[in-house]
């Protein structure tokens, strides 16, 4: 025990658990989204409502495609962390675990589908 650091002894105990990893992941993704969201709103926004030819041509361009793919991926990872906190606050026991797993899977599924679709439009 004498050789353990204070941090090592606290890890996994009580509220320490995984330390600040969750907070840090939310912080990094939120800073990224502060930049991505305005770019996405003003690239996706004008494209919405266009014809099939206009939309496919627009997202074949690198900038709108990269912004859309990055925004979908990062926002789904941000949602994954945010909805987990929501579930942890209101749902407990087995239902909590089931819902957290389901929403994590949903986040990755939407992120993968979005990035795949944009890649297909871009190439």
């Amino acid at each position: 025990m004498a050789y353990l650091t204070d941090r090592k002894r606290a890890m996994g105990m009580g509220a320490a658990k995984s330390g600040v990893h969750h907070f840090w992941a939310m912080k990094v993704s939120s800073v990224a989204l502060v930049v991505l969201i305005p770019l996405f709103v003003f690239t996706f926004g004008p494209a919405l409502g266009g014809t099939y030819a206009e939309v496919t041509a627009y997202f074949a361009r690198p900038f709108p495609a990269i912004i859309a793919a990055a925004t979908i991926w990062v926002s789904m990872m941000h949602f994954k962390g945010g909805v987990q906190t929501l579930i942890e606050d209101y749902v407990h026991g087995l239902a909590q675990k089931v819902l957290i797993i389901a929403t994590i899977c949903l986040s990755y599924a939407l992120a993968a589908t979005g990035v795949f679709a944009i890649a297909r439009l871009a190439f």
């Binding site: 912080k27 939120s30 800073v31 989204l33 502060v34 969201i37 709103v41 003003f42 996706f44 926004g45 004008p46 919405l48 409502g49 099939y52 939309v55 496919t56 997202f59 859309a68 979908i72 926002s75 789904m76 949602f79 945010g82 909805v83 929501l86 949903l106 939407l110 589908t113 979005g114 795949f116 679709a117 944009i118 297909r120 439009l121």
Partner: protein, 127 residues
């Protein structure tokens, strides 16, 4: 003996007793807007998938997103997106232990509410 008074102890105030305050309402709205944005995320990813699949599939998804109901969802989501973004910036400021006193926190709250409406109108005018 410690449990003699079980069930009769005074409880801390619940949400239904507390008078709503700007700080609490803006906090709850941050959670609601953030999680509700999954609906628009679903629709937008579906729209992209349809566009990458075929013209007929795109026309279906596009018709749903640009219908009156789709417009209503997208308009609400646009406001929710700006609200959640501004509220997130407020949290990034708070993370530095800045602006946590009540007068500043309330000013930031009004800035988030007002700013989200202004940005929504501005976006509608620009796109």
């Amino acid at each position: 003996m410690a449990d003699v008074n079980r069930g009769k102890r005074p409880l801390s105030p619940h949400l239904q007793i507390y008078r709503p305050q700007l700080t609490s309402v803006t906090s709850i709205l941050t959670r609601i807007t953030g999680n509700a944005l999954i609906v628009a995320s679903f629709l937008i990813v579906w729209w992209f998938l349809a566009a990458s699949t075929s013209e007929s599939y795109f026309n279906l998804a596009n018709a749903v997103l640009t219908s009156w109901f789709g417009d209503l969802v997208m308009l609400g989501s646009l406001w929710a997106l700006w609200y959640h973004t501004l509220a997130g910036i407020r949290h990034l400021i708070w993370d530095n232990a800045i602006g946590l006193d009540i007068p500043t926190a309330e000013k930031l709250g009004w800035a988030v509410v007002g700013g989200s409406v202004v940005l929504t109108i501005l976006t509608l005018l620009l796109i």
